[in-house]
Symmetry: C2
Subunit: 440 residues, 2 copies
């Protein structure tokens, strides 16, 4: 049975309309979920640990006598790591090493990052400091990804965050040893087996047992996303992630099986994931379709892949690689593969993308796990204005100003004129009091 | 009539409880406002210009035949600038020059910011690009601040943003010439006299006349804040600002009048603004109180200042400057004045603050207008996890990965082990297809 993935050509008259339809996705805001989340947040804020224990019993089927039973000790994390086959231990450590190495290059040295003095001796500068304490949400159940633990915890660690608190739901007490092992490898400070809106609330407000954090990162279901959106401001959050996407720009030189498998690797995440191919070579598109049809039956997650490709996928024939690059900029994809024999010719044309994978050997899955860059990337076109999760998300800046006596004379006059113009007389007087004549 | 500002001492037994009460502030989410904003957003999304015209007529008392009448041309901006007294023109230009100069130091060069090759020849890097188009919200009416136009537009300009779209409501058609002049000086691309949730919607979704932007920054009232929170994800936004705050750490060496006026300059913004003094010298606190009582009657905005100081202000006697610094870190103030003869002794102890003003001559108001750093700063303790508005808010990063054939061999094995561990077989197969033996 062939896969009924949509074929489009940029030359067709209804391309614009159809293309918009393909891209359309909007986070449904389910009022029922919103209301339940608001109630859970308010309850945890009020009753703390007691509320967390009740929701964990109700939603995760995990009843325990007290919060101590919901904390994973360091020895348990280490035991999980030790219990893994050598192959998995090596893979986790190798991935962690590469991710750390990449993120160390993103780090801004803490302390004064730069400063200069103007002609009056006034000093102007910028200081960088790490966040004190962050929370990492790790999904449990079917989408339990140890790689996400590394991708969230390592940048925080590199940034100099002192305490990294992980939460991961363990429905009916089932723990995922790879997730626990990843927490060990990544250097998580404390870990709790709680999840959902109640875990987000515990991190955002703090309870007697769970420390209040400054920022919460990490993916989750609709309840978690809604809770993060609501606590934004009380704490920092990373982006609210939509379905995952891949865009492959192909010039027809990569083996079609490789491209087909790369499209699958996105589609297998979830029925709403989106895989799109842009290619100026019609014959090559046909070969990719053949590869898709031939390879799909070999995939354990064939049904999810089929649903995703048929529902949201597209193979798009473009007039040229240049046009493909222009369309890519409109999509601003999360993952962008430049599957070309001359990827560095096209890379400078690509303005908006979370991560750019250059050349046939760079499968997106290598980036997902171990190449080094982060796999938490802006989805749904948000790469137009946002960046991969990085060390910069766990550092912040403060401006520094030290006005000299001479500087206060010149600046004071300017500030006073503008402050009076805005009707803010105390601002003006504060500047004038520093003038030698007291502004008289 | 003395100002009944709260006096506290860290030695008093109920200090912790009282201190928490003083700091307590939470953005009231008014359901009626939320619902009206949601309806306006949906309507502008659906009906575009037509809806914008209707809401502008209804809320701003400004009825015009079409959108063209709501656009300010470049010549009108320039005319506003030319109409100003020379003193104001010079002040605006001088402030803009200093703000630009500071922000140029924040800029990351666009293009490849760094890259390295690992031992297998795999390239890993990071690319920086500006946002294409941003929207700046400028409040109209009583809080029309030309300085905000400079502080929002200049960092975007320095970042390399090509189009900067300003919106500013002009109730009953009243335009503020200083705001228009600031738009001219800052190099705004287009400007519309629209405001409220309808302006945020027009920028976020685009209409026939108003171009869709990638990010919206700038302060606004409760409707604007609610609208920005709702369109977050569709576009980027800056922080949702709470009331403004100043914290003064004083060692007792600054003239008390200066400190009193600095406290006023925050308090005059709004009754909810917060001014706090931390000082280890009880006699000095008494002198500041005397200065407050003596100077308040001279202030045109005395009533607002009194309400703010009596409602939310505090003069806190600490055991030492060290203790004052520790308390400051708990507050994470928006504006932090270190009014001391040795400010550089204390600065390294200060971890969380939007902007730090060092020494007696550095009044906060100099920073508000013209010292150089941005005056859009994290409020309500959010300096724990966020930064001043800056050039970095108008640039974003993309990861770059180019895996060599040799690199694909080593990375492919690691990725496949982890992908199988997560049950994502297409990820594993995509990596394995790049192995020389095809993963067989």
């Amino acid at each position: 049975m062939t896969v009924q993935i949509r074929h489009l050509a940029t030359t067709q008259s209804d391309f614009e309309a159809t293309f918009k339809q393909v891209l359309h996705w909007s986070a449904e805001t389910d009022t029922a979920i919103e209301d339940r989340v608001a109630a859970i947040l308010a309850d945890v804020r009020l009753r703390g640990d007691e509320a967390v224990l009740e929701y964990t019993a109700r939603f995760d089927g995990l009843s325990v006598p007290g919060m101590a039973a919901l904390e994973l000790g360091q020895s348990e994390l280490k035991a999980a790591f030790d219990s893994l086959p050598a192959e998995q231990r090596t893979a986790l450590e190798s991935a962690a090493r590469r991710v750390r190495s990449y993120h160390e290059r993103q780090k801004q040295a803490c302390g004064l990052s730069w400063a200069y003095r103007d002609e009056d001796g006034t000093l102007l500068g910028q200081k960088v400091t790490p966040l004190d304490r962050v929370g990492i949400y790790v999904p449990g159940g079917k989408a339990a990804y140890p790689s996400s633990v590394l991708m969230n915890a390592i940048p925080a660690h590199v940034a100099g965050v002192e305490e990294i608190i992980m939460v991961v739901p363990t429905p009916r007490g089932e723990k995922n040893p790879l997730v626990l092992a990843a927490a060990y490898v990544a250097g998580v400070s404390r870990a709790f087996t709680i999840g959902g809106a109640q875990a987000v609330a515990a991190l955002a407000y703090g309870t007697r047992t769970v420390p209040k954090v400054d920022k919460i990162t990490g993916p989750g279901n609709a309840y978690v996303a809604s809770a993060k959106r609501r606590v934004f401001g009380e704490v920092g959050i990373d982006m609210i992630a939509g379905p995952s996407e891949i865009l492959v720009l192909a010039d027809g030189t990569t083996p079609p099986d490789w491209v087909a498998m790369d499209l699958f690797s996105q589609a297998e995440h979830d029925e709403l994931a989106q895989s799109i191919l842009l290619c100026p070579d019609a014959a090559y598109i046909t070969r990719v379709q053949e590869a898709i049809d031939r390879l799909l039956p070999t995939m354990p997650r064939a049904e999810i892949i089929r649903a995703s490709l048929e529902g949201r996928g597209a193979l798009i024939h473009t007039r040229s690689m240049d046009e493909a690059c222009a369309i890519s900029n409109r999509i601003a994809p999360e993952h962008l593969e430049v599957s070309s024999s001359e990827p560095n010719k096209w890379e400078p044309l690509l303005k908006h993308a979370g991560a750019i994978f250059l050349g046939a050997y760079t499968s997106e899955s290598l980036g997902d796990y171990c190449a080094g860059p982060n796999h938490v990337l802006p989805t749904s076109g948000t790469a137009r204005f946002s960046s991969p999760l990085g060390v910069y998300d766990f550092q912040k800046r403060s401006s520094l100003i030290e006005v000299s006596e001479a500087g206060a004379q010149a600046l004071g006059k300017t500030a006073a004129v503008l402050a009076y113009g805005e009707g803010l007389q105390a601002h003006a007087r504060a500047a004038e009091l520093r003038l030698k004549d007291g502004g008289q």
